[in-house]
């Protein structure tokens, strides 16, 4: 016979559970993950190379894992910094998932690693949906990518704990409108810090490492509006959640529920 079965399962539940597990596992051994998201050609690798060198100078044990569809150039470049680097080919997959990352770390990641930088696959769409167990998620864009980049990729910018602008040395040449960029970031992610960098001139180099170290030391990271769970407690509404048969997605106002289920 025919049945309707209520499942009510988050589609990415498996990835999220894997991410929580990995985060806890790494935290227990003192390692924190920094997930770096950007479009191809954003200058992410050049900046990361500088940050890794910086970490070496400060004697912070770091490692980097770079995920790419094909080339090996990024890994070779990062390896010049002298820190452990691993190249992962995703076989055409447009993003990393937490289970894949966990598998790649096994038997490779040195025990004393404090910070693991993960250079995610180069695009701003797919990786945004997958928690990798990171403590700090950083979204990067170069000045050449335009001020409206945050509005074109609201999930990537909206879920970032930190936004990094690269290649500021050519900002004038490409007429980068910093104020407009900042306003667009603010629209999708109110309160997130925006850091300006130039790997070539050294501007802002070391800031990413500073923020990562602060997060690793337990300093609170920015909480993006988009990442907050809709289930809030202790707020102004005195609505009780006693009847557990209810949907958990819209606990707030009945007005909102009526709206979304029209």
């Amino acid at each position: 016979m025919c049945r309707v079965v209520d499942l009510r399962q988050a589609v990415l539940a498996k990835n999220d559970a894997g991410a929580h597990e990995l985060r806890a596992h790494l935290a227990a051994r003192g390692t924190v993950v920094v997930n770096l998201l950007s479009s191809p050609g954003s200058g992410k690798t050049a900046l990361l190379e500088r940050e890794l060198l910086c970490a070496r100078e400060r004697s912070v044990p770091v490692a980097a894992l770079t995920a790419d569809l094909a080339t090996e150039n990024d890994a070779a470049r990062l390896a010049r910094s002298g820190v452990p680097v691993k190249q992962v080919l995703t076989d055409g997959l447009c993003h990393l998932e937490s289970g894949m990352l966990a598998g790649h770390l096994e038997g490779w990641l040195p025990d004393d690693t404090r910070l693991l930088f993960v250079e995610n696959v180069g695009n701003l769409v797919c990786p945004a949906s997958y928690d990798l167990g990171e403590t700090l998620r950083v979204t990067l864009a170069s000045v050449t990518e335009g001020e409206d980049k945050p509005l074109k990729y609201p999930t990537a910018f909206g879920l970032a704990h930190l936004v990094v602008v690269t290649k500021t040395d050519i900002a004038d040449a490409v007429e980068f409108d910093e104020a407009a960029f900042r306003a667009n970031v603010e629209q999708v992610n109110p309160g997130v810090e925006v850091v300006l960098t130039s790997a070539r001139r050294g501007q802002g180099v070391g800031v990413l490492l500073d923020r990562a170290m602060a997060a690793a030391d337990g300093a609170p990271v920015h909480s993006p509006v988009m990442a907050r769970q809709p289930h809030h407690h202790g707020h102004t509404h005195t609505h009780t959640h006693a009847d557990d048969g209810h949907t958990h997605a819209h606990p707030e106002a009945t007005g909102a529920m009526a709206h979304t289920h029209s």
């Binding site: 016979m1 025919c2 049945r3 309707v4 079965v5 209520d6 499942l7 009510r8 399962q9 988050a10 589609v11 990415l12 539940a13 498996k14 990835n15 997959l93 447009c94 993003h95 998932e97 769409v125 797919c126 945004a128 949906s129 997958y130 945050p150 509005l151 074109k152 609201p154 999930t155 909206g158 603010e186 629209q187 999708v188 992610n189 109110p190 309160g191 509006v225 988009m226 907050r228 809709p230 809030h232 707020h235 102004t236 997605a249 819209h250 707030e252 106002a253 007005g255 909102a256 709206h259 979304t260």
Partner: protein, 137 residues
């Protein structure tokens, strides 16, 4: 295009639930809630879903997507608004930044319509299937 990964995750979860329930012969449809800010393109998802279902218990199943508009609320001034896309997450009334997202990030399987080989029984015999709550229709 991660819609393929999303579709595969949906198929996996439904197939698992069907295996737990036992004796499911075919899945007719899957109802999915997709928030406006979930970062998923419904058309791409529908296309991927068809491919992901091929050769599984879900072969030929229909994907029904229920869109959830993004809604936000300003904590200080209590104003509520539709976020739109790209979303506006600062308050349009007071310019505040302490915003709560009420809806729009959903990406979940609501329910599944399937056939099982069982005859109509007076009481559900799904003692082992904890998650799915079958309701006969």
């Amino acid at each position: 295009m991660h819609e393929m990964s999303v579709a595969l995750a949906v198929v996996d979860q439904v197939a698992e639930a069907a295996a737990r329930a036992g004796s499911v012969t075919a899945v007719r449809s899957v109802r999915l809630q997709v928030g406006e800010l979930a970062g998923v393109v419904p058309d791409a998802l529908a296309f991927s879903f068809e491919l992901a279902c091929a050769g599984t218990l879900l072969e030929g199943a229909e994907l029904v997507t229920e869109a959830v508009p993004g809604r936000a609320r300003c904590a200080p001034c209590a104003h509520e608004w539709a976020t739109g896309m790209p979303p506006r997450l600062t308050c349009p009334v007071c310019d505040g930044t302490r915003t709560e997202l009420l809806a729009g990030r959903e990406l979940q399987i609501l329910d599944v319509h399937w056939d099982d080989g069982r005859r109509q029984s007076p009481s559900p015999t799904h003692a082992t299937a904890r998650e799915p709550i079958p309701e006969e229709r």
